[in-house]
Amino acid sequence: MRRVICFGLLVLLIVVSLSSCTAIKKTYSVDLIVKTTNSEFWASVYDGAKAAGAEYNIDLRFLGPSKEEDHHVQVSIIKQSIQQNPDAIILAASDYHLIAEPVEIAVESKIPVILVDSGVNSDKWTSFVSTDNYKAGEVLAQEIEKRVGGSAEIVVISFVKNSLPSLERTAGFSDYINDKTEMKIVEIVYCDSDIDKAEQLTVEILQKYPEVQVIAGLNAQSATGAARALEKLERSDIFLAGIDCTVEEADYMEQGILDVAVLQNPYLMGYFSVETAYNVLTGKRVERNIHTEVYVIDKENMFSEEYLRLIFPFY
């Protein structure tokens, strides 16, 4: 028996010395495919992703259409990415239904897909890093109730009809307004994440519903467009609430045009998505849903140390 143990020890020693050779850190290649590369929000996601990439030795490619509504462009970008056979794909789906197929193709090609921000109509993805969008909509509604209240009329400017965040935020917002308050949503419009269209829509809304007191822009572009319109029309009396806060919006907030914003943490989303990809690639267990926090900012607290850091990217 003792001999067997000795032999076992010997084998162990050899195995240990062999395995020490193979434990060399690998560099992974990961494609980050976002809705559009022309956006402050996605630049911030990319920044976070780059930071995590440096931390975990990951070669990151930042891909995406130049316009968010170009769903088909995103589909072809995903397909090209699959051709390149990266170790993982981190994807922000611009359309809930249309992007489901390429996600499944990627997973069939043994490429794990981590979703960031926006989901797809498939369950083949490995992990989903996002803001809790329903909650973001809900929080926004709560803030409006707190600051305006009463039986105010609300117009919602949502962004892309078939994207999951849009659907969820709208749902969270409407559910709260309809169930918990006296306020009324008079219309929900979609700006397709186009600032000019949002601006145009705001002008139209103000003509169509002169009684409207509150405009809720459910993403950066919606709120920015609305703020531009309100500035031009000098209608800072309209309560403008938004989700996300770009630097331009921060300016509007300082001026008092944008009254409240629910902040996401796109940098952290980017960071977590790459970290999750790394954990998937190194065989660690990952959570299927990872939510980042939302924060409420207004003119009073926007320059506090905590929110300053989230609103204005440090370059």
Binding site: V4, F7, I14, S17, C21, D47, N265, Y271, L308, R309
Partner: protein, 582 residues
Amino acid sequence: MVRFIHRILHRIKTMLPPNLRWNSLLVVMSFSTTFIAVVAVLMITFAMNNRFNASIDRTTEQNNTQIVDNVSDSIDSYLKEIRSVSDTISNLLINYNPEKVFNFYHLVLRDDIDTIAVFDAQGELVMKTDSRNLKENVDIKRQNWFRSVAPGSRMYMFTGPHVQRLYKGEYRWVISLSTGVEWTDGENKHQGVMLVDLNFNNIEEMCSKELGEKGYLYIIDKNGELIYHPRQQMIYAGIKDKTIPIASALDDGSEIIKRDGDRILISVKTLRNADWRIVGVSPLNGLFAYDAELRIFISLIVISVVLLIIFLSVIVSFFITSPMYRLMRLMGKVEEEKFNTYYVARGVHEVKELSFAFNQMVYKIKRLMEQIVEEQQLLRKSEMKLLQAQINPHFLYNTLDSIMWMAESGDQKNVVKMISALAQFFRLSLSGGYDTILVADELKHVENYLIIQKMRYNDQFDYEITYDEAVLQCKTLKIVLQPIVENAIIHGVANLPYKGKITINAGVRQDRLFFKVIDNGFGIRPEKLDNILEEKPTTRSGMGVYNVNKRIQLMYGAEYGLQFESQPDEGTTVSIILPLAK
């Protein structure tokens, strides 16, 4: 499962040749030497790794300390430079000469300074070095940089990073140097605050020094608040750098911190021109993370050394054990009584010695065997001679002649007595071919002989036979007494002028069986007595005595045999000493 493995092992064990069994010397030696050597190699590798790591630690520490020193020097002089810009402007400002200030500023125009502006004590803009307009609703008095120095105090203060919001649509991260300034505008003395906003261009560049493979530099203030970090936005977004609280608790210098199994070297240096501390952080991963190629190289060396050791230990063990297995095979042959085998010594010294001893042993055994064969042959030969002596024609003729004379003289009684004695004498001489007979039979044999001889020598002598009852059932070599008695008669008592006497005594002394044949004859001369058993005698009866001694010694060894004691004209005592055997 364990039983299954045991069965497999047992199967393997029985299939292997004997020198490959688990407990064979070859396997035991190979394994133990390999094991020891591997342990030694690994220990050496480990020790060397530790030494190497320690020296890497030292080098890294020296390196980092130096880099941190250099960076803090350059940041120090950078801050000093900014202060001197501020000083120059405040000096130019004393007489409120905005022209000079502009001229100076255009001389020093630099892209790391975002804004130079002077505000009065109420926070109203006095002058600016560039033409950008301030935002309308900006409330200077509420801003930290403005509040951090008293207007006109000539004090300096560097703020931490903050977003400057003087201009519309511009929100830049800057570090502000506030200086309390004074100036005289005609008769009026004014007090205010000068703002110099620095962007991070230069600081970033100065902190981008390589600090090992994964090391980095950052700046904190004395409270541990972050001034600059290469991953500033990451920290702002909520991913903490765990080294910041550690570094803020450390004094200037370097320290190795163990955290979550990682060793991190942290070097800290406090600046002279601000309450800032430069922190250099580099993970100490040691030799094996230092260089992947080196790691592979060392691992390969270790593996090849281990393989070499296994190979060598098997070779050495084989070299040592194979002559032993040859020796073992030869011993097997010796067991089969093939004594002409010998071993040609090869291999290690001890095995050579062993084989030499083995050869000696085989040679001795061979000699002994030959000796035994020789002795047996001698024994047979002397027995044959003995028998020949018994059936000596002279003795038979003389006896028969005596019988004839007795018969002629009508001495019928003595004829019967003699013939019966003769018959018994011969019967006992043969004694069924056995070498040993009962002492009782031996005594009877010699008595028959004495009866015959006494009659033949006309009662020239008397005889007496005494014995311990106990010895009668003991065994003795046959026909040891008769040749002695024959000698005693012929050389002792036969020609005595008076009547001779022969006494035979059998008993036990010192656990040995002994016979004594005592006569009162002429005795033996001392010079003859000394070597009576050594020289081969010439007479027939002398030959008989010699043969008895030889037979006893061949049978039982040199410690047994005959002893002579004799006094001339007094008589002779011959002792026959034999082992006591039932």
